[in-house]
Symmetry: C2
Subunit: 493 residues, 2 copies
């Protein structure tokens, strides 16, 4: 099975697709642009969601749930936001089907069931949520309001790719309301840092923290903070965003509060989200030509034990007993382990299958090992194998999982460092983008026009202006106009 | 606040609505028939979901995620299912909005973005899932396929009520595929028992386990198993269903597997679900005229501690310290506790508020109690108060939570027993339904026509034919035709 995989050097995009499909993470569906998240992929998402959800709650947020549909009149209330999403909205116009009189057994839309007002399937929920917050916020005592929602959203993309860009995707969206601008900005920054730490500690994915240029800002935001990761093909991927929305939505929905001096003020807002796109980032950052490589902290299955049976029934029994006791020890340490004793496939096939699925540690138990009280332990990231004593093996594996997690991070960080360059003139800039790829730090004159022109010429965009960016006099690589800091360019997903 | 509640005897429906809104569980939204689940209500749902999800996993199921949209041609493939849901489908017809040339700032549907085929927003996912299973199932080795999905679904109901009947609701839907009829029926029964145990052990809600009559079956099912609960107004509420789908969906989507003899056979199917409707059931079963009464095992907050401050700062400090140490002890026992030391409201107001919100145990700490090393502990279900020693208080509270959980169950069971009657003739039947209300066990001739007629005359439906129903010769209460068992009638939500 695994030898049917496309390699990265052959065709990176096809390699990615092969991994997602053959690794069992997702499948295409009967609906254009929508995917099915298979149990293995969903297990990964559950692990990510659980960690993030805990972090949101630790930072004072509560979950709630708002409607899937947004009436068109609400959707258009915040004009910039509406304009940004109008071109990719799925729209519900009718609420009933009826039998097709000319084709028995077929259904058609019932023209008598046309909605008075069309409903937009939420591409994001600021509009529906702020129309609700209007009823929840009267006084400064109602603030801050710190709410998160786990939900599905729909953006009708023309070109879709599994996990990276699909018409429907799963995400979380935080929507907070504050009494002051400073507090809202603090929240925006706090949540981008929550995302950054999650990416680095759990996904083993080093990220740049930064702010978007005006061109790349969320529609309706005053400022968009982001985390940006680098994939193995040298392209950037935006892994999470946190928006300072100013008073834009409060003004659009007339959400005011009376402050301590009894003055009416508009409320300050933030929103922030990450999606199932993170699964795409995880896959592209760490995997190799043999299949998925998953960070142990998030892998649905962390250890798999494969017995090497022979025809001797008593050997089989002893292997099963050994595996059983090892599993118990591992589970008592909170490690997710499975015993793959399916008789219908051979060990070699299983090894390839578990490599393909990115299980971090594989333990093989054979008859000869057993006599010597040994097991063969293979790590997925480096493919190193070791013969280790069964005594204390669970403790060793626990340490190994930590090592693998750290190694994946270090490897990705080293890769990013190698693929980060400075360009001081246009030719150098273009050459770096084309030949070296990765992040290119360069001076830019700060205008949207220049950014747009650079994008036209090179397909590279400003990924972010890093937080705490060193200030440095320089000249814009395109216009030569003065600049006081470098920004990060890359081609991106 | 709580004295503004409608009482049950005044207007049961209004009482329910008051509780949902003022208890902070949900709110109306800007979308007809859709609700907002507020943080407190969502916390309740999270607790329910977590228990159910663990039980599903313990019984061998995995979660996955399938698309929100169902292309019309797939939706209509299983005719009975399609017919059953066609009249309440939200339909997406377009995928883009554009600026309205005659009203700047407004949006209209872009007529050039009409979908070739309409998309139905899933009212249930059998169609989209079985169209996918076709690609996943080839051999008996691929079976059983045991998958669950947590998702939102949309059914365009004309009359909606918060949690009980809303256009959009949250639920889980299990969809399993099996190699034999017997195995599929076993799964169907296993899952209704999972639901029944959840209702009884966690929701403190006694339920009847039974099978639906043909009239009340899920559209497309061969048999629908259900759990039925009784509300305080004597009306029944269907709390969960598990369907044996036979080979209907396998035939509609041509899903066959090769068995061990290499013969191609259609796959056998089940589906089963519970929804946020359970929150409505929970509220209606246990609550009283002072507000919500929540079972401790599911309550978002199990214990609240209220300090009775006076003007003495040192007293305040000692109260805070005492509360702090009590909270630590309670949390170490896994108890969800909050310290309500907000200075802006008075203790009496807080007591009413926590009663309204159904917090199972309230601890009041006052200066005089403190001198005597006592605390006042009030239980929400019976409103009994006790003065208890601070020594060992956390252990006492832990026991109290168990007591309350058991008491709520016993109370609901006793109520149901009192409201369960046998009717042996028509007049008795009608009188029981009108005056006593509740479950009425009566003979029925087994025909859909009679059932329909009874419904027309009394608004009562057959809630279920209980599992392991005693067999007993009798005559149908309406037609006098012979019957060999009683079935359970009630008016229902």
């Amino acid at each position: 099975m695994s030898n049917a995989l496309t390699t990265r050097s052959q065709d990176y995009a096809q390699w990615y697709n092969d991994l997602i499909l053959k690794g069992g993470l997702a499948d295409y569906s009967a609906v254009r642009g929508c995917m099915v998240i298979k149990p293995y992929g969903y297990g990964l998402w559950e692990n990510m969601r659980d960690v993030l959800d805990r972090r949101f709650k630790e930072t004072g947020h509560q979950n709630a749930y708002f409607p899937l549909f947004v009436p068109k009149s609400l959707f258009e209330a915040e004009e910039k936001n509406a304009e940004g999403f109008a071109k990719e909205c799925a729209v519900v116009t009718h609420y009933r089907l009826k039998n097709d009189p000319s084709h028995p057994g077929k259904l058609i839309i019932d023209p008598n069931a046309k909605l008075e007002e069309e409903l937009v399937v939420r591409p994001t929920s600021e509009a529906i949520i702020w129309s609700t917050y209007k009823n929840w916020i009267q006084s400064y005592r109602d603030l801050p309001l710190l709410i998160n929602q786990w939900a599905n959203v729909v953006r009708w993309e023309m070109r879709t790719r599994l996990f990276l860009r699909t018409a429907e995707f799963l995400w979380q969206e935080g929507h907070t309301a504050h009494a002051s601008k400073a507090e809202a900005i603090e929240e925006t920054k706090k949540m981008i840092e929550v995302y950054a730490q999650f990416a680095e500690e759990y996904m083993a994915l080093p990220v740049l923290r930064g702010v978007k240029s005006a061109n790349e800002r969320f529609a309706g935001a005053e400022d968009t903070y982001c985390i940006e990761a680098l994939m193995q093909d040298g392209k950037a991927l935006q892994a999470g965003t946190s928006h300072f929305l100013g008073q834009n939505f409060a003004k659009a929905f007339d959400v005011k509060f009376s402050d301590k001096n009894n003055q009416l003020e508009y409320v300050w807002a933030t929103s922030w989200g990450v999606s199932t796109r993170l699964i795409g980032a995880l896959v592209m950052a760490h995997s190799d030509d043999e299949g998925l490589v998953l960070p142990p902290k998030l892998a649905p299955l962390q250890v798999v034990i494969v017995p090497i049976y022979n025809k001797d029934e008593s050997v089989r029994q002893r292997l099963d007993e050994t595996a059983d006791s090892l599993m118990k020890e591992l589970r008592s340490k909170g490690i997710r382990v499975q015993y793959d004793n399916d008789d219908s496939t051979r060990p070699g096939w299983k090894f390839a299958e578990h490599e393909l699925r990115g299980v971090p540690v594989r333990v093989a138990l054979g008859p000869r090992d057993l006599e010597n009280k040994l097991a063969e332990v293979a790590r997925r990231d480096t493919k190193e194998k070791q013969s280790l004593s069964l005594d204390g093996l669970s403790g060793h594996i626990e340490g190994l999982l930590t090592d693998i997690q750290q190694n994946l991070y270090n490897r990705a960080l080293q890769f990013r460092e190698e693929k980060s360059s400075k360009a001081d003139n246009w030719d150098e800039f273009v050459q770096l983008l084309d030949e070296k790829t990765g992040f290119v730090y360069a001076h830019w004159d700060g205008t949207p026009e220049t950014e747009e022109k650079i994008k036209e010429l090179t397909k590279a965009t400003i990924r972010c202006i890093p937080l705490d960016n060193p200030q440095e006099e320089g000249k814009c690589i395109l216009t030569g106009n003065p600049s006081k800091e470098r920004v990060v360019f890359a081609r991106a997903y």
